[in-house]
C-alpha cells in the first residue's frame, strides 16, 4: 500500500538530488535544470498532500509554481543568452563581474 509518506520521501530524494546538482555543476543551464527538478519535487509534495487532506488548494498552488517556473525559464534563458553574447561562456566561474 502506497501512503503519502512514500511520495513525500520520494520528493525529498528528488529535492536533495536537485540541491546536489545546483551546488556541484558549473554550467548555468544544467544548474537551471537542477532547479527545475527541485521545483518539480515540491510540486509532487503539494499534490500528494492535497490528495491526502482532501483539499484542492495545493493543486492550485502547483499551477502557480508552474507559472513562476515558466516566467523564470523565459527570463533566465534570456539572461544566459545576454551573458553568452558578452563572455562567450555560461560557466558560472565567469560570472564574476560584480566581484572586487
Amino acid at each position: 500500500m502506497i501512503t503519502v509518506n512514500h511520495y513525500l520521501l520520494l520528493s525529498a530524494i528528488l529535492f536533495a538530488i536537485g540541491t546536489f546538482g545546483v551546488l556541484t555543476r558549473k554550467n548555468a543551464i544544467v544548474i537551471f535544470m537542477c532547479i527545475e527538478v527541485m521545483l518539480n519535487s515540491v510540486n509532487l509534495t503539494f499534490i500528494a498532500l492535497s490528495r491526502h487532506v482532501g483539499n484542492m488548494d495545493g493543486q492550485i498552488f502547483v499551477f502557480f509554481v508552474m507559472t513562476v517556473a515558466a516566467a523564470e525559464a523565459a527570463v533566465g534563458l534570456a539572461l544566459m543568452i545576454a551573458f553568452f553574447r558578452n563572455k562567450e561562456s555560461i560557466d558560472t566561474d565567469d560570472f564574476n563581474m560584480l566581484k572586487w
Partner: protein
C-alpha cells in the same frame, strides 16, 4: 500492482534526476529531465490528478523543455570539462545528504493534520478533476490567477528586453 508501478516509476525518476546532474553534455541532461517530468506525470495520475499530469506534460515537458533545448542548441556548448576541484563535489554531496536527512526526519516526526477534506475519490470521479480545478481557480483563487497573468506579461517583456542587442 500500485506498489510495483510506484517503485518502478520512482526508480526511473530518481535515476534520471541523478543523470541530469551528472551528464557532461547538457542535451543529455535535458533529455533525462524530460524523463523525470514524465515520471512525475505518472505520479500525478496515481494521485488522481489527471489534469495536473496533462499540464505537467504540456507545459513542462513541452514548452519549458523546448525553450531549454532551444537555448542549448543556440549556444552550441561543448562538453563540460571535468572539474579539478573535488571539495566542491564533497560539499555539495554533504549538503544534499543533510537536506535529505532533515526532510526525512520531519516526515517521520509528524502526521498531516486536517485530513478528511471535501475532495474524495467519489467527488473526483463524479465531477471530474478538471471541473474541480476550474471551480477552485476561478472562484476561490481568481485574484492570484490575474496576478499570475501579469507576472507572465512582465516575464515576456523582460525576456524581450534582455535578449535585444539595442534597447
Amino acid at each position: 500492482m500500485e506498489a510495483i508501478l510506484f517503485y518502478l516509476t520512482a526508480t526511473v525518476a530518481i535515476l534520471s534526476a541523478f543523470f541530469v546532474t551528472q551528464c557532461r553534455n547538457p542535451v543529455n541532461s535535458a533529455l533525462n529531465l524530460i524523463t523525470t517530468f514524465l515520471c512525475l506525470a505518472v505520479f500525478y495520475i496515481m494521485l488522481e490528478a489527471p489534469f495536473m499530469a496533462a499540464i505537467q506534460i504540456m507545459v513542462y515537458a513541452g514548452a519549458i523543455m523546448v525553450l531549454i533545448v532551444f537555448v542549448i542548441m543556440l549556444l552550441n556548448l561543448g562538453l563540460a570539462v571535468r572539474t579539478r576541484y573535488r571539495h566542491g563535489l564533497a560539499g555539495g554531496g554533504v549538503l544534499a545528504a543533510l537536506t535529505l536527512f532533515v526532510v526525512n526526519y520531519f516526515i517521520r516526526a509528524g502526521e498531516a493534520t486536517a485530513t478528511g477534506g471535501s475532495v474524495t475519490s467519489e467527488v473526483i470521479s463524479s465531477y471530474g478533476h478538471t471541473e474541480l480545478i476550474g471551480r477552485a481557480m476561478f472562484v476561490d483563487f481568481l485574484l492570484p490567477f490575474e496576478i499570475a497573468s501579469i507576472l507572465l506579461l512582465v516575464a515576456i517583456v523582460g525576456a524581450v528586453i534582455l535578449s535585444k542587442r539595442e534597447v
